[in-house]
């Protein structure tokens, strides 16, 4: 889902920590070291990395500016190969039949079956192209805030991991408790009291 789409979903984050100077160069380095790899024609079934905003199939960070106004704008791309289980089953069965015929036996060990299955998945992964999913983000470096344009749990988790690996900064997802603790104007005493909150009953007891 993208910044320019409509409608959009947004998960808010707070960025903990500061990059050392020169900031833009360090961001660019973090992006370049963790761009998404092309896994078509490879046996990998998943690739996760950064890509350029509005040009998601280019990972040339130098060619596409990621600074727009005061915002750092780029995208997370998750490429995944999804092989239908019935196709795996078909090729697995065919390979097993071949192996049995060749060996002259009428059964295969558990290890042999696993090897055949792994081999089948490996070969299918080489043939099947990956499906890309692209999620944009806007990072406002000055205010330590980041908007990620997805509410999907898996995509958010991948973002948190990759962001920390790329920039050595921690992303804290903002939800009611973290908003109260980190971004609200509550005093320290009020924040301490927050942990003692219990649910309110709006009905007559």
């Amino acid at each position: 889902m993208g910044i320019l789409s409509s409608p959009v979903s947004i998960t808010q984050y707070r960025v903990e920590g500061k990059l050392s100077e020169p900031i833009l160069e360090n961001v660019a380095n973090g992006l370049k070291k963790n761009t998404v790899e092309d896994i078509d024609d490879q046996s990998s079934d998943k690739a996760i990395g950064w890509t350029c905003f509005n040009n998601p199939f280019s990972t040339d960070i130098n060619q596409t500016p990621f600074l727009i106004g005061t915002h750092l704008v780029f995208s997370l791309r998750i490429d995944k190969k999804m092989i239908p289980s019935k196709i795996i089953q078909k090729h697995y069965t065919l390979e097993m039949t071949k192996k049995l015929k060749k060996s002259g036996r009428d059964f295969l060990s558990k290890t042999e079956k696993k090897e055949i299955k792994d081999h089948v998945i490996h070969l299918l992964n080489l043939r099947i192209p990956a499906t890309p999913n692209i999620y944009d983000l806007i990072w406002n470096y000055e205010s330590n805030t980041l908007w990620f344009f997805s509410n999907l749990k898996g995509a958010n988790e991948e973002l948190e991991t990759l962001f920390t690996r790329s920039f050595n900064l921690k992303l804290i997802r903002l939800f009611p408790y973290t908003m109260a603790a980190l971004t609200s104007p509550l005093s320290d005493v009020e924040k301490d009291a927050l942990s003692q909150f219990t649910p309110t009953r709006f009905t007559e007891s």
């Binding site: 910044i3 320019l4 409509s6 409608p7 959009v8 979903s9 947004i10 998960t11 808010q12 905003f53 509005n54 727009i68 106004g69 915002h71 704008v73 806007i138 908007w147 509410n151 804290i172 997802r173 903002l174 939800f175 009611p176 408790y177 973290t178 908003m179 109260a180 603790a181 980190l182 971004t183 609200s184 104007p185 509550l186 009020e190 009291a193 927050l194 942990s195 909150f197 649910p199 309110t200 009953r201 709006f202 009905t203 007559e204």
Partner: protein
């Protein structure tokens, strides 16, 4: 600060209470909302409201959807002990409108539609469009943040139990 994963589940009721309070405020005090955002002309419930009643260890989900859906069932659910867990909102300023859905547990935005922006015709238009969109997203996010902060201050004060909760109870019973 507590571990984030633990805090998410333990304190999701805060977000649900916020949405319940917000419905009460929308229904009874539009004037107050205008003091929160001076550009606001109205804030009202959109086409989806989800409530959850977790009384007695059982969970019941009540979903009300549709552009002209009545909210009587929602009030009835509140009377039975439910809270709002998801709410679609329409936020209007003089000549612009935002629509979005908030989930109480995360307060993340879903289905966020911002006012119409111009077409993108060239690559050079994209940067301008990103800035315009960012401004429009920020407007909705900032409005919700302000409301949530006001709610938190109220929730942390004695006014919550002494005045607000009794008023919400009265509103539910009307």
């Amino acid at each position: 600060m507590l571990d984030v994963a633990i805090a998410y589940n333990r304190y999701k009721f805060i977000g649900n209470e916020f949405l319940t309070w917000l419905w009460f405020t929308i229904d009874t005090n539009q004037h107050f909302l205008k003091t929160v955002d001076e550009t606001l002309t109205s804030l009202y419930l959109g086409n989806r409201l989800v409530l959850e009643n977790s009384v007695n260890d059982a969970s019941e989900i009540i979903t009300i959807k549709g552009d002209d859906a009545g909210l009587e069932e929602g009030l009835l659910s509140l009377r039975k002990g439910a809270v709002v867990i998801e709410m679609n909102l329409a936020y209007k300023t003089e000549n612009q409108e935002w629509k979005f859905t908030l989930k109480g547990e995360s307060l993340s935005f879903a289905g966020l539609k911002v006012p119409e922006t111009g077409p993108v015709e060239t690559q050079a238009d994209i940067e301008g469009m990103v800035l315009e969109k960012a401004y429009l997203y920020e407007k909705a996010i900032a409005m919700v943040d302000r409301l949530f902060n006001i709610f938190l201050q109220l929730r942390s004060s004695v006014e919550w139990s002494q005045k607000t909760v009794p008023n919400i109870k009265k509103w539910i019973q009307v």
